[in-house]
């Protein structure tokens, strides 16, 4: 039997996540009385996956006990602690404190009770929101049991009203590969309704505001009050500006549903699983509704921003100078009240998108990750020199996680000239470094001539790099105290084959790339183009079977850059050495035979 558990976690609390992982692992181990080696766990995006397998008899009582009791308690405890952490964070939010103070300073002048209203509403938000997050997260965990001895499945999807599902084996059903899909379906069950509610609330406020602001505009004759008013308007515009990315992030989350929808529908789950099918239809409808709402919302936000900005413009609705402070107070009362609601709703929506939008939009499905039985042989075509399979790599940067590679698959054939193109941050350099074994991926494999690069010992890797691979970098990476000839000879020197034959080859290379005249000059005496020529010659010294070039023209002007690319192309035509370059420039990529487009950590076009 096999068991899989998956749940949403709070990415930043790394220490606590390790504890959670250990607790769940030992709970599953106890439940199926397995050894530690039979349990495995990993993080994917902001979800934790734990799985275990054991040959033995199935005890339904234990399954119930785990799902209704121990696992649930572990998760509840975990999210409770996160809730208080989040509450503390909100209370100490300096920026919110400062901006709400500016709003308060103004609305208090209009009506003292409005100041209180703002404080109360913000407090309410600070208590409610962490609680809502806890409820959604608390219902995010699922378990899947594959009881192969009786050919039965049991799902526990905590987000469903009736979370238990049992059913029998269908042919060709790879249950492990469904775990991440079921997890996302379960997540949507809890995430959608409150999200749509949030959009609705925001929309209602904006509609009210738009209506209000169509009336006559006022300014105060009191300069001090007017100054407070203008600052107030500016903060409101700023609050709305902060929402500009929200729709984009939520759209991305919505789009995640496409894959589980397609796959689960394909399987056409029968009998007990019928409920899941029904839910998929419901969720799809809700998502469509959500998309419409988001679209409307982003237009409304833009319009209201403009309204605020134009408030002081006499040509829009006219600006009337209030004759007395009394008149000004009276005139702005209603708008101030709505603005408080707007401030609070905007804050709430922003936190919503921060909570769900910082990681989940970058989730990528990869059923193989959790498939323990996945020791199927990898099929690689004979003419493929470099094969990349299911590559994942994250970087933790302060408060952020960068999802540099999110499941990359790629074959590079012997003798190909390939360009990997994409904007910065698309993951190009990370991919190149993993392919050249300069960096190791979190998941996935790289095969060089069929051999798993990351299974090799460090010394073996070094040897492959030295003998089979050549490198060209944007910054040339020449040794400053070696002259041109010595720099080019260096790799040959390292593998200890500085024979007379090699010496002749080095002279040929220097001539070939057109720097034989500068053979005894040091890098500091060379121009950028010349240094890159030296770097190219050096990459070729050991007659590598593959050359990696990371933005080889990045530091060069376009004329020199073109010359360098022509040189590489000519070299490729003459020797048929495999070349992989990465660049963000289309013009440069055009020199390659094949262009691979990377976007957001995945290959978007071959």
């Amino acid at each position: 039997m096999k068991v899989y558990t998956a749940a949403l976690i709070n990415k930043p609390s790394r220490q606590r996540n390790r504890e959670l992982e250990n607790k769940i692992s030992s709970e599953l181990r106890r439940a199926i009385s397995a050894k530690s080696s039979q349990i495995s766990s990993q993080e994917l995006n902001t979800f934790l996956f734990v799985s275990g397998s054991k040959n033995g008899h199935f005890n339904p009582a234990i399954v119930d006990k785990v799902e209704k009791g121990s696992l649930r308690r572990i998760f509840e405890d975990y999210y409770k602690r996160n809730e208080s952490r989040f509450q503390r964070y909100l209370k100490s939010n300096q920026e919110l404190h400062e901006t709400s103070q500016i709003i308060k300073n103004f609305v208090q002048e209009i009506d003292p009770s409005l100041g209180k209203r703002l404080v109360t509403n913000l407090e309410k938000l600070h208590n409610e929101l962490p609680n809502i997050f806890r409820k959604i997260s608390g219902k995010s965990f699922i378990t899947v049991w594959d009881i192969d001895e009786i050919q039965e499945y049991r799902f526990f999807l905590s987000g469903f009203d009736f979370p238990f599902f049992t059913g029998y084996t269908q042919k060709n059903m790879n249950i492990a590969s469904l775990v991440d899909k079921l997890l996302i379906v379960n997540f949507f069950m809890n995430f959608l309704t409150p999200s749509l509610q949030r959009f609705n609330d925001m929309r209602a406020v904006l509609v009210r505001l738009e209506e209000e602001i169509k009336k006559t505009h006022y300014r105060s004759f009191d300069d001090k009050l007017q100054e407070k008013f203008e600052l107030f308007l500016r903060i409101l515009v700023a609050k709305l500006s902060a929402l500009e990315e929200v729709d984009n992030l939520i759209y991305r989350i919505f789009n995640l549903f496409e894959i589980p929808k397609m796959i689960l529908t394909q399987y056409n789950l029968k009998s007990d699983f019928q409920d899941i099918n029904t839910m998929i239809v419901t969720i799809s409808d809700q998502i469509n509704e959500g998309k419409t709402q988001l679209h409307e919302l982003s237009e409304l936000i833009q319009r209201c921003q403009k309204c605020f900005r134009d408030y002081l413009d006499e040509t829009v609705n006219g600006v009337r100078i209030a004759e007395s402070t009394q008149e000004f107070m009276q005139a702005l009362k209603s708008m101030s009240k709505i603005s408080i609601d707007l401030f609070v709703e905007a804050e709430s929506l922003k936190m919503w998108s921060d909570f769900f939008g910082s990681d989940i939009p970058f989730f990528s499905f990869n059923g193989q990750l959790i498939d323990q039985s996945d020791d199927r042989p990898v099929i690689i075509d004979k003419d493929v020199i470099l094969a990349v399979r299911g590559l994942f790599k994250n970087y933790n940067l302060g408060r952020n996680t960068v999802y540099a590679l999110r499941g990359v698959n790629l074959d590079i054939k012997e003798g190909e000239f390939v360009a990997i193109v994409g904007s910065s941050g698309a993951g190009k350099t990370t991919l190149l470094n993993c392919m050249a074994s300069l960096d190791s991926p979190d998941h996935g494999k790289v095969y060089f001539r069929g051999q798993d690069l990351h299974k090799m010992k460090d010394s073996e890797k070094s040897e492959v790099r030295l003998k089979e691979m050549g490198f060209i970098f944007q910054s040339y990476a020449l040794l400053p105290h070696f002259n041109t000839r010595e720099n080019v000879a260096f790799p040959a020197d390292l593998v200890g084959r500085l024979s007379s034959g090699i010496k002749k080859r080095i002279e040929d290379l220097l001539r070939g790339v057109g720097i034989d005249q500068q053979a005894t000059q040091f890098p500091a005496q060379l121009s950028g183009g010349q240094m890159q020529r030296v770097a190219i010659a050096r990459a070729l010294t050991n007659q590598p079977s593959i050359i990696f070039a990371d933005e080889p023209t990045g530091d060069l002007d376009s004329v020199t850059g073109t010359q360098v690319m022509k040189l590489l192309k000519k070299f490729h035509e003459e020797t048929k050495t495999t070349i992989v370059i990465i660049t963000h420039e289309q013009d440069i990529a055009a020199y390659a035979q094949r262009q691979i487009l990377m976007e957001d950590g995945v290959i978007s076009k071959h």
């Binding site: 920026e95 919110l96 400062e98 901006t99 500016r234 903060i235 515009v237 700023a238 609050k239 500006s241 902060a242 929402l243 500009e244 990315e245 984009n248 900005r309 922003k350 921060d354 940067l397 302060g398 408060r399 952020n400 904007s423 910065s424 941050g425 698309a426 002007d557 376009s558 004329v559 850059g561 073109t562 963000h584 013009d587 976007e599 957001d600």
Partner: protein
């Protein structure tokens, strides 16, 4: 009605032009690199151009046509080899190096493709730097930087370091830094070059907003037609000269 305003009459859009408001006048501008040597490059071969206050202009052309050189000349990052640049009636050829530095600091904002943010400074510290260089008290500078970042929707990222920000957010910080001095002219060299298409669209929207709001002049070098079409007009360059000027408005896609 005011200058720069776009009027819509029977579906046609017109920009109101006032000759008085030419902010930048370029005459017979030349630039030669490696002058007198065998590898001399004649990057600009006599450029004449008038740019009005509040214009949003794109410069396009093939690699090596001199578009970045022209931008650098306007930004006075390099000396020209003949001709004149007059900004707000001021002939910049006549300025000393110190005067030039002060002039550049006070009148021109730069936005580069690679953002060039200091990685060891937070967003707000990056933005306030130009003010501190002008000896503005740190408290005042900090408040101004904060407000400007808030305007750009970065209120809750004030104390993040550049590495903790997405590409689009980093570009917003760079934009805030370019705007903090309230420069009359903002120069961008492929300002969206490193960003994906969604984020580029957002940045261009932001430029248009700032341009409409403060009537600041934008000059953007780009090879991306879509970006260029977000501007009022496109100056096309070939071989160090202006080949033609294409007037907008351009069709929305």
């Amino acid at each position: 009605m005011s200058y720069g305003e776009i009027l819509e009459i029977q579906g046609m859009r017109f920009r109101i032009i006032d000759e008085q408001e030419t902010i930048l006048k370029i005459r017979r501008l030349h630039k030669r690199y490696n002058k007198g040597k065998s590898n001399e490059v004649h990057a600009l071969r006599g450029v004449d151009l008038d740019i009005r206050k509040g214009d949003m202009m794109a410069i396009m052309g093939p690699s090596g046509c001199g578009k970045t050189t022209l931008l650098n000349m306007i930004g006075h990052l390099d000396h020209n080899s003949g001709g004149e640049i007059i900004i707000d009636y001021l002939d910049t050829n006549k300025l000393s190096d110190t005067e030039m530095t002060a002039f550049r600091r006070d009148n021109i904002g730069f936005i580069f493709q690679l953002f060039n943010l200091f990685p060891f400074l937070t967003a707000v510290e990056n933005v306030e730097t130009p003010l501190l260089l002008k000896d503005i008290p740190s408290g005042v500078a900090r408040e101004q930087a904060k407000m400007l970042l808030r305007d750009l929707g970065m209120g809750d990222r004030l104390y993040h370091y550049p590495l903790e920000l997405s590409g689009g957010q980093q570009q917003r910080v760079a934009i805030a830094r370019a705007l903090i001095n309230d420069p009359a002219i903002i120069l961008g060299d492929e300002p969206t070059g490193d960003l994906d298409s969604n984020t580029s669209a957002e940045v261009m929207k932001l430029f248009r907003r700032i341009n409409a709001l403060n009537r600041q002049t934008f000059i953007l070098v780009t090879h991306n037609r879509w970006i260029a079409e977000k501007c009022d007009y496109i100056v096309h360059m070939v071989d160090g000269k202006i080949s033609h000027i294409e007037n907008g408005p351009f069709l929305e896609d």
